[in-house]
Subunit: 362 residues, 2 copies
């Protein structure tokens, strides 16, 4: 599924429009379809290609199986001045979380801080998209999510009671690109394991262990093992913390209740996410924060490197560069993915995704 220099390229707009059309024909209202499509295409634009259009066939299977509500009544079910809980009515996660972020921004503007939890949401794509949304308002975003399949046992255990539960955080700088962290609490996300298996590559030691507790490096045997948390018991603690904040607190699934949405296209996942927004203007002068962060970024980037290290990166900097490059040169998609999307288009009786350099849809 890896894109190479020989891979077909598409524009952001063509990709977005293709995804939107696929959702509209499957029953989503035009504006909802557009919102989901924009976020999915943004995922591909920034190189989060495990969370972009690659998920369209899976989402489509779930919609067609009745596992997603295409006309949800997304509504606030609990609310105080600085917080809310949103019930997503089993709609597309992108819609539910977008609503949550907008509400958290409004609350942060009023109260300095806003926290919104979701329940009955679904998989929503890359965490960084939602943590980044407050940036344009000179606000910070922190995002927590319960992953949509349990691949992580508690430390010392071998029952997969936890998921890769990601954390994302975004901080607006001044002249520098924002600092954007987006990380699973496991050493590797499960999507990376699947990608290695598809390419016939082994797993590095430290990604997974087998049921004897020994390193599992044969990617095709991934189903027999477990992901490892970062920092051993610490990553287990973080995954648990994120799950309690994003799941249990808002009344969403956690632990044994988590549905494996790769295997089950029908059951309501009751996915939970949580977004925290902090308004810089409440804490001081946002410009001063931007200057302080610019200085820190330059200190870090310009600091002495270990032998053999070419560059010190800030979190989010590589995605930033990928986004800039893909805006100019188009988004590269793996040939196997493009074939899969063509099949989906044919089955939905839609025009196929327009490649760059072609006159129009084929």
């Amino acid at each position: 599924m890896t894109a190479t220099s020989a891979s077909p390229r598409v524009t952001f707009e063509a990709l977005r429009d293709f995804i939107r059309a696929a959702f509209v024909i499957q029953g989503l209202p035009e504006s909802d379809a557009g919102q989901v499509a924009t976020l999915m295409a943004e995922a591909d634009l920034q190189g989060s290609d495990g969370h972009g259009v690659i998920r369209l066939p899976q989402y489509s299977r779930r919609i067609q199986a009745g596992g997603i509500n295409v006309r949800p009544d997304i509504r606030v079910v609990r609310e105080k001045a600085a917080m809310a809980v949103i019930d997503g009515d089993n709609g597309m996660g992108h819609l539910v979380v977008s609503r949550a972020v907008d509400l958290a921004i409004a609350k942060a503007r009023e109260c300095g801080v806003g926290w919104v939890s979701t329940r009955y949401s679904n998989h929503a794509g890359p965490a960084s998209l939602y943590a980044r949304k407050p940036l344009e308002h000179q606000m910070l975003g922190l995002y927590f999510a319960v992953g949509n399949a349990n691949h992580l046992p508690p430390w010392g255990g071998m029952e997969m009671l936890l998921s890769t539960n990601p954390i994302a955080a975004a901080f607006p700088a001044g002249d520098e690109p924002p600092v954007v962290l987006d990380m699973a609490t496991t050493v590797a996300a499960y999507g990376k394991v699947k990608a290695r298996a598809k390419r016939g590559e082994p797993l590095p030691v430290g990604w997974m262990i087998d049921r004897e507790g020994k390193p599992l490096t044969d990617a095709t045997r991934a189903g027999e093992g477990f992901l490892l948390p970062i920092g051993e018991h610490k990553g287990y603690g973080l995954a648990l913390m994120v799950g309690l904040l994003a799941g249990t607190l808002g009344g969403a699934a956690m632990g044994r209740d988590v549905i494996d949405f790769n295997a089950d296209h029908v059951s309501v996942t009751n996915t939970g996410q949580a977004i925290l927004v902090l308004d810089l203007a409440a804490f001081g002068d946002p410009a001063a924060f931007g200057e302080a962060l610019d200085a820190l970024i330059r200190d870090i980037r310009g600091s002495a490197r270990l032998p053999g290290v070419e560059r010190i990166w800030l979190p989010g900097e590589q995605s930033h560069l990928k986004r800039e490059a893909a805006r100019k040169a188009g988004i590269a998609l793996a040939p196997s993915l493009v074939s899969e999307l063509d099949q989906l288009a044919d089955s939905l009786r839609l025009p196929r995704l327009a490649r760059l350099g072609e006159a129009g849809p084929v």
Copy 2:
């Protein structure tokens, strides 16, 4: 510095009263001294012995050098409904953070969520103490702090621009003990490295690297190397995130501005911390949250274990058991620490710390 079964034991009350007397004679008001002493003795009670009375000689050196304001005017300098920034006026960190937690609890009661940042604070002991405070109000606590010495370079670098910046989180269960996470974002806290050096023990591979990027296992050479972040670049990202939330956001020191308070007893540290409190009652029925967490705790504790693993622990469970045991049997202190405390008592013309089983102060 390690306590053993042959170590002298003290009661919580004797330890607290000894610490309080030491602070009073050095100029802290009686009630402030009592508050700091209680928190420091609670650190020892729960086994956080790198953050308890072991710090008293260091705090005393700083107070005597004029590096701590013993009569601070701790005040709110920025405020909105759900947030505040507190200026600690260079007082003891325990006092500044306690004020921040109390204010965050009050704001959470009103708005559902409360966030309070500190600036001009100081080292405040174990993060978990502050994350735990909201528990008695049926609230969750999340705590972030900038560490008081930079021991961590950015990933790929060798300039120590970051600290071990800890995260703590506490969740109230029903019948089970609370889930309490308290972790540095490095594989090992620097105090653990110092303890190994004192005992003449090597460091495990993975704790530190030298300036060639190779594992550093000779603890006596710790000064020539750097701590490693958990999960490689991920822990670097987390340490940066925590530093921005706890330091930069509230106008406290971060990056190059961080003072090494082990080496410098005079400069104002401008330490920053941040506490986030979420009121369970705003999100739903607190009893239902407790039941859900109890069920999850029991699922985790009772789940299948890897070969050779005797027990699966929940975060905070070991501290909980240590606290219960030390309440009954007393707190064991390393003989070398007790000698150091005796010297401090003599120099301050205070009665020495009363050991358990003795008639009174010697």
